[in-house]
Symmetry: C2
Subunit: 346 residues, 2 copies
DNA sequence: ATGAAAGCGCTAACAA
DNA sequence: TTGTTAGCGCTTTCAT
């Protein structure tokens, strides 16, 4: 921090004033005469004075910035969410600090710790696939850190949460597959521990049950690392394809799993949807130009980010401790494209 | 910063020691007895003591973190670059703070300012498409802030730079198109002011000239905002398609322009490559599963990020001012897929 | 081997 | 209206 090295003290010395006078003048205090204010303000502007926010934060205990933890920015869903967060945060004079957990519990803990020590005023987090224990977050919350969960939430911590209607999205997609004529519908999803997994699985099961289709456990595959390493996903896909009655359709439960599954099917020369139909949760802007175009469950990512940030800032700005928490559920939207086309048997 | 509220002072009080003793013990100073060190360290660990980095930064004048400015994380190229940066930074004990300029000059300036005031020790930046004037960066550099440019560099500032062989990549792609039988090759690129634009344009022109094909200015379209708003791109595409001799191939110069062009062509029912072939700079992992699969010029994004960070940290850690700067140029790789397939005339 | 004290840049209670 | 002073949490001389 020796860039723009001029400090409040320099101004004071130069103008023959005390530091406190300068400080107050800078903050437009009513105690300071217009004349002095003008003098200080002009000098400050001319010399490109910038308050040192480290010092300010140290003093004031807050930093006007909020921390974000997502699993990976290399994911259209999360980058869209982040854009929504930036938008809301900027409009209220806050900055954001973005970090990635890469689905790792250790990295999540490390990032949160880094953010905390960067004096963030609040935390927006989608917990990592690996994370089973949220003790690190609960402690922080108890100590007064405002936290808002989005996407992957924890039921063990009571705070504002923003998710989508995962059950509904999954249900709708499965019904679509069934009504398109598919019978043996598999589901590739993320880690068992994730809230998102549970909800999307429920939607899938509910649709099957409702249409009188037996739920086959062999058709449900979990990826402990959210499909981050291709091996686990490939194994899941292989097991499905090599089973005695291979599925004729697959519902994939996350952006990465969806696109990776598509890539794997291509690599294995499995035709979509002739050999197996594919419907997946995904926010990729390329859904239309994929081969085939991808039927996808789309989430209002920008709105999720915006809403989560609004709620976080409302906690931060609240005079009294917030104890009533809200659980916002936004709708998903099913875009039907060619990857789930009904095909006549050959 | 009252989360994990325990401070060095608390430890001192609890252990009946002075703060300075505790501070030294924590930093494993030779002045402190093993016994005391052990006492302090254990107490600190048990009580989950974390030094307050704001205070440390304020005191020491550095923060062990580096700032990153990219145009948009919603772009596989940049998110891969960032992963490379994180990887190198973490391995050297640094944290990164990621910000997006969204191709806007104002946002770039604001982000840089925010980063500076967050006491970053160095800056990694790919300048925004809109940015023509780099005065804000030059001033910072003169004041001693280590800066490393990557991707979009400025010739007006002398520092380490990491780019790819843009000319070569573009040349190779164009030659590939020509040798595949395409004659009327258009080039959709970014803002005129960008270094990347110039280099990629040169490669394109060079290939045409070398193969004795006339360079047609009508075939070269600029997008002032890097294709960020679809309108400017759509106009470019329309102008090309509606010209008296429409191109039979297009070379697109950036990730966003490439994917957006593909989307537009689909929307207009223009067949690729039958009606027009497409080759583009892109790092999307979906290139293989696009319709058609996309011939792309791929950049070693992770390595770019890693290398840039290495260089930045070498400046930061250098005892004496660095005045000799390096210009690293990494190779691109052309992946030939179906979007540039040679097609027999109908 | 340990402690007292100054100070990083800033804010704010209190004095003048 | 302006100035003095005491910290925020930490590091670092300089005593002891």
């Amino acid at each position: 921090m020796n860039f723009d090295a001029i400090t409040i003290r320099d101004i004071a010395r130069e103008l023959q004033l005390s530091v406190s006078t300068v400080s107050k003048a800078l903050r437009d205090s009513y105690e300071i005469s217009e004349k002095t204010k003008k003098l200080v303000l002009e000098y400050a502007k001319e010399n490109n004075y910038r308050p040192n926010p480290m010092a300010q934060s140290l003093k004031k205990g807050h930093s006007k910035s909020i921390g974000i933890v997502v699993s990976s920015i290399d994911n259209q869903f999360f980058s869209q969410v982040i854009n929504g967060m930036e938008s809301e945060a900027y409009s209220q004079g806050y900055n954001v600090i973005i970090t990635q957990s890469h689905e790792s519990y250790d990295l999540e803990v490390q990032n949160v710790s880094h953010l905390i020590h960067r004096a963030i005023d609040g935390l927006l987090i989608s917990i990592a696939t690996e994370t089973a224990d949220v003790e690190h977050l609960r402690r922080l919350q108890q100590q007064g850190l405002p936290i808002v969960f989005f996407d992957r939430v924890s039921s063990e911590i009571d705070t504002h949460k923003v998710i989508v209607d995962n059950l509904g999205g999954s249900y709708q997609a499965t019904i679509h597959l069934i009504d398109s004529g598919y019978k043996n519908i598999a589901h590739i999803t993320s880690s068992v521990t994730s809230s998102v997994t549970t909800q999307r699985l429920s939607g899938y099961v509910q649709a099957l049950v409702e249409r009188g289709i037996e739920v086959n456990d062999q058709y449900i595959k979990y990826c402990a690392h959210g499909g981050l390493n291709l091996e686990e996903l490939e194994q899941a896909v292989d097991e499905l394809l090599q089973s005695s009655t291979p599925p004729d359709a697959i519902l994939t439960a996350s952006d990465r799993i969806t696109t990776s599954t598509m890539t794997l099917l291509h690599k294995k020369n499995i035709r979509i949807p002739q050999d197996v139909a594919l419907v997946g949760f995904s926010n990729t802007v390329l859904a239309d130009v994929l081969n085939p175009s991808l039927t996808s469950v789309h989430q209002p990512a920008f709105e999720i980010g915006k809403k989560a940030t609004e709620m976080l800032l409302s906690i931060i700005n609240s005079k009294r401790p917030v104890t009533e928490f809200e659980n916002v559920i936004l709708p998903t939207e099913l875009f039907i494209r060619n990857s789930s086309l009904k095909v006549a048997p050959e």
